[in-house]
């Protein structure tokens, strides 16, 4: 049986220091995050809790020993790295500020904490203003490309059963990742793929497809693979695998984020239970990824290795129908309950609309929302697609400043309003181990030396430091430990009771 899914999103934001000639992106990212941490909503300088790198092993490969020539990502232990009371990690990764959401148990909660993360980035920009000269400003963009060949990611994480054969995951997840782009794409003016002229594709569905060169691999910054094999479960490695998905776009449309996470959760559940009898094997997956992204008509035939072909919509209908059947026969418990039923309804509606009139999805799907704005502006001012004004709008769509964001000005559907998302800036989800992490930080941050995904280290005033392991992502919830935490006056008491 499929295991109960745990989800998480990691968003690397674009960052610009306006008013300075030579902005150092690492310094800018550090300033942004430190500015937030010094506010009352951050966890405050005297009580700041850093990240614990003890268990970080991003170089481990799901296929076995790391192949020669692979480049495991560096773990940068010296940069700003904080754990927030909502259970998230907010840190500088390479040259970007990154928000790793707390673990959540359903797709709607993924949307909630994604929006909370964006609100934290917005608060951070505001907080940074008081630390900068009046003519300088930090600006954060939620996108994945600078239009010049540089990309940064929005990664997804899905907890899976370790016993599920990796080869089966590769085949079916690849088919989903290639075809889900029709609703997950955030839209992009032009093309950045090597060997393609910039005017060859006026507008494409995704930010990211141009940057993928391999089918399967460990890398995230060079020769990016459609299936990333990083084997670092941040949980009991005997029982679990964390599928680390690097191929998606960051979304501003909440419906897109909801479907990106929700549909992938369903497909991975079907894979675990071996309920996908049809293997959709593309003749050339990397090419198919780009073909889908470059095709606004959503009708390009994608070649399969048996010589036949399918369209992205056909594959998505097949995956949808299998998922609907799964929910009817086996329920939605593995996918967080009722929100999973909303995923199915919305998946069906969006595929129906994509087939009939994609433009009716403005405000639900980012590429449509952006395309309609740019096409309207282009028509009004009689512009060519390579006009700088359209490229500028393509970037400004993702500006997170509420007064400058083009996305915010366009009508869009919210699944979670800001009144609900604001508390999630400081409160953890109730139904994953993020609850234990966040609530401990709220109560006893002065006694917590460090924290990471699967453990916390307490200093209870006497040697040695005490590490509390959290190897089960679905334990440490409010239901498990809420009463215990309420009954403990001190962290020493908590440690004592956890041991008995």
């Amino acid at each position: 049986m499929a295991i109960k899914k745990t989800f998480g999103l990691e968003t690397e934001y674009g960052i610009v220091l306006r008013g300075a000639d030579d902005g150092n992106p690492i310094a800018a990212s550090s300033l942004l995050i430190n500015a937030y941490l010094s506010t009352s909503e951050g966890n405050g300088p005297p009580r700041r809790v850093g990240w614990d790198f003890e268990d970080e092993m991003p170089g481990n490969d799901a296929r076995g020993p790391t192949p020669l020539g692979a480049m495991p990502p560096e773990v940068e232990t010296h940069l700003v790295n904080a754990v927030l009371t909502n259970g998230a990690r907010y840190y500088v990764d390479h040259a970007h500020p990154e928000m790793s959401s707390p673990e959540v148990a359903d797709a709607l909660s993924a949307v909630l904490y994604d929006r909370a993360g964006d609100l934290i980035a917005i608060e951070s920009m505001t907080a940074a203003r008081s630390l900068l000269p009046p003519d300088q400003q930090l600006v954060v963009y939620k996108n994945n490309s600078d239009g010049k060949g540089n990309s940064y990611g929005c990664h997804e994480n899905y907890l899976m059963d370790r016993t599920c054969p990796f080869g089966r995951i590769v085949v079916h997840a690849t088919a989903h990742f290639i075809t889900r782009q029709i609703f997950t794409g955030a839209g992009k003016v032009g093309v950045e793929a090597m060997g393609r002229a910039n005017d060859e594709v006026a507008f494409q569905l995704t930010q990211r497809a141009d940057f993928f060169e391999e089918e399967v691999g460990l890398e995230t910054t060079l020769k990016r693979p459609i299936i990333n094999t990083r084997d670092e479960p941040h949980a009991d490695p005997q029982k679990y695998r964390r599928l680390h998905v690097i191929v998606g776009d960051a979304n501003l449309c909440q419906v897109a984020t909801f479907l990106k996470v929700g549909t992938t959760g369903f497909v991975l559940t079907l894979i675990e239970d071996d309920l996908l009898p049809t293997e959709i094997r593309f003749a050339n997956p990397v090419e198919a990824l780009r073909e889908v992204s470059h095709d606004l008509s959503l009708s390009v035939p994608l070649r399969l290795d048996d010589g036949s072909s399918v369209t992205a919509l056909e594959v998505q209908w097949e995956l949808y129908e299998r998922s609907r059947k799964y929910a009817e026969e086996r329920g939605t418990e593995a996918l967080g309950g009722d929100p999973a039923l909303l995923v199915l309804d919305r998946w069906e509606q969006v595929l129906t609309d994509l087939e009939r009139d994609p433009m009716s999805l403005a405000g639900q799907v980012d590429w449509v929302t952006k395309y309609q704005l740019l096409a309207g502006y282009r028509e009004r001012h009689q512009l060519a697609w390579d006009d700088a004004r359209l490229a500028a709008m393509g970037i400004q769509y993702h500006d997170l400043r509420p007064e400058k964001s083009l996305f915010e000005r366009l009508p869009h559907e919210r699944l979670v309003d800001d009144a609900a998302a604001r508390p999630a800036m400081v409160d953890p989800p109730l139904d994953t181990r993020a609850y234990f992490r966040g609530e401990c930080l709220k109560r006893w941050s002065g006694s917590i030396v460090a924290a990471n995904w699967d453990s916390m280290v307490f200093d209870v005033g006497e040697d040695p430091l005490r590490r509390v392991p959290m190897m089960e992502p679905t334990r440490g919830t409010e239901a498990h430990v809420g009463t215990l935490l309420d009954e403990c006056q001190t962290p020493a008491e908590l440690i004592d009771r956890l041991q008995h």
Binding site: P277, I280, A388
Partner: protein, 65 residues
């Protein structure tokens, strides 16, 4: 191969049913979106980056991940 044909069959059936039910509602939505977009286009120059060319040129990020 039989499996593959099944994929293709399922899509049209699914969409045919729904198209008839929902088409009018959606075109209303489409009209509303278009009129809101027109209003936005009327005022958008006020918020757009003033020098598009410089803005695009200066938007440079290092690779991440």
């Amino acid at each position: 191969m039989a499996e593959r044909e099944q994929i293709k069959r399922s899509a049209p059936t699914e969409s045919d049913e729904v198209v008839e039910d929902e088409a009018p509602a959606s075109s209303d939505t489409g009209e509303k979106l278009k009129s809101e977009l027109d209003d936005l286009l009327d005022e958008i120059d006020e918020v757009l980056e003033t020098n598009a060319e410089d803005f695009v040129k200066s938007y440079i990020q290092k690779g991440g991940e």
